[in-house]
């Protein structure tokens, strides 16, 4: 069921304590800042968050971590020059980390959305990130068994939605959006523009509306060239 909601607060209101939440974005590109701010405001806690990184600077996911709402991060690259809130929580033993090679992260998310129960991949074979995992020699290579990552809720940013919930993205802000949209029970999307049904060329739809549950328009959430929000 697709809903168009009036505010980011309404969009995230149903997120419960203890949820697994996927958050789109690679660095700041595609990060749904306004939805994350609303999630912080709504007070949900004890969250498991899936994102490529573990927050940057003093905004978005970094603030959610700072406020102690995240019990576990599943990500590939938590350590950055400005990931001080995650660093502090990790060193204090106040946040759990599941570190996943980035391609495994993407493929495990994709697998969840595609109904795949797991897959074998050479990535990580022989490394400490494959310790304890099943391995097989397949197709001429040693491969490691990886399982899907499902979520209760996905928060992503897209450029435009139409009345059917079909989405298009902008440049490298697409990143995890399409696969996270399919991997959660409930997918919430912030867009900068909602066009009438029929307003998107069906050939160019990136995420079909079947994966989308809630859409909220956030004015000015897609930058024009030259309007740089803090780039790390």
């Amino acid at each position: 069921m697709l809903n168009f909601v009036d505010s980011v607060q309404d969009a995230v209101a149903g997120i419960k304590d203890g949820s697994t939440v996927m958050i789109g974005g690679f660095g700041n590109a595609g990060q749904p800042f306004e939805l994350i701010d609303a999630l912080l405001e709504c007070g949900a806690t004890d969250l498991t968050v899936v994102n490529n990184n573990a927050g940057q600077g003093d905004q978005g996911l970094a603030l959610l971590i700072k406020e102690g709402r995240v019990k576990k991060m599943i990500c590939s690259f938590p350590r950055q020059s400005d990931s001080w809130h995650f660093d502090a929580k990790y060193k204090a033993g106040e946040i759990e980390l599941e570190l996943v090679p980035q391609g495994n992260l993407a493929e495990r998310i994709r697998a969840a959305g595609a109904g795949i129960g797991g897959f074998f991949t050479p990535t990580g074979y022989g490394t400490m990130l494959a310790e304890g995992k099943e391995t097989r020699f397949l197709d001429g290579k040693w491969q490691v068994f990886e399982t899907p990552i499902h979520a209760d809720v996905t928060l992503i940013k897209a450029l435009k939605a139409d009345g059917k919930g079909n989405l298009v993205y902008r440049k490298t802000a697409r990143n995890f959006g399409p696969i996270m949209a399919a991997a959660a029970k409930h997918t919430i999307v912030q867009v900068s523009e909602i066009v009438p049904t029929g307003g998107l060329d069906p050939e160019n739809v990136v995420t079909p509306g079947i994966y989308v549950n809630s859409i909220v328009k956030v004015a000015g959430s897609a930058p024009a060239a030259g309007t740089n929000r803090k780039v790390a």
Partner: protein, 229 residues
């Protein structure tokens, strides 16, 4: 010293980062699809020529990446793997993360160029984690690139600040991939790694014998055919 060994020396002095980047760029076959990772290897892009017709891949979902964006070109929706604003070239394409990593993992990339802490005699790569107590591990796409690209080139200084060789018998840092590195470009020479050991394609500012004194694994001169590039 044999003639073969003398002829390996192609520079009177060790190579700086930019000269090394220029050499790597020259060695990339025309028409290749290439990923330059983050950090030092991205310098290679400065020396790729239009005639080479190289397509750059960035793991966050783009083929046809252009040079770093400056001034009004900066767009927060258009960044590279190092989260630095970049530009798009004509013919560029965007795709989601699973597709982007399928490009790596599916063996579609011709070459990736990565930095390293250590490379073993058989081409094991260590470049993601020092393993130091308290260090926060971060892997990103390193394991996917190391495992998936057809050729994995490493760019690094041969020695650590303490003077230890980064080419080692076996890696003491946690590894990124097993037997994946095919070439190592360093300030003191170019090494070819494989199941039959380490050979030296060329040396910079030293002879093969002098290089051997620095590197704790047996080195041999690469066959002449390997010097053709």
């Amino acid at each position: 010293m044999s003639l073969t060994e003398t002829s390996l020396q192609t520079s009177a002095t060790p190579l700086g980062r930019d000269d090394l980047a220029r050499l790597v760029a020259k060695d990339i076959a025309p028409g290749s699809f290439v990923n330059l990772g983050i950090g030092q290897p991205t310098l290679v892009s400065n020396y790729l020529t239009e005639e080479q017709n190289i397509t750059l891949h960035t793991e966050n979902g783009m083929l046809g990446m252009g040079p770093e964006a400056k001034g009004d070109q900066i767009d927060e929706d258009l960044i590279n793997a190092g989260k630095i604003p970049v530009t798009e070239l004509p013919g560029a394409s965007y795709f989601h993360h699973a597709d982007s990593f399928a490009i790596m993992r599916g063996g579609h990339l011709d070459i990736c160029v990565l930095g390293a802490f250590q490379v073993s005699a058989t081409g094991d790569l260590a470049n993601w984690h020092t393993g130091a107590p308290g260090a926060i591990p971060a892997v990103g796409g390193a394991m996917d690139l190391a495992t998936g690209a057809k050729d994995v080139f490493v760019m690094m200084t041969l020695l650590t600040r303490e003077g230890a060789s980064k080419i080692v018998e076996s890696c003491t840092y946690p590894i990124t991939g097993v037997g994946c590195v095919t070439r190592v470009y360093t300030d003191k020479g170019v090494f070819l790694t494989g199941s039959d050991g380490v050979s030296v394609r060329e040396t910079f500012g030293c002879t093969l014998e002098e290089l051997q004194e620095l590197v704790p694994v047996p080195l041999k001169a690469a066959p002449a055919a390997e010097n053709a590039t």
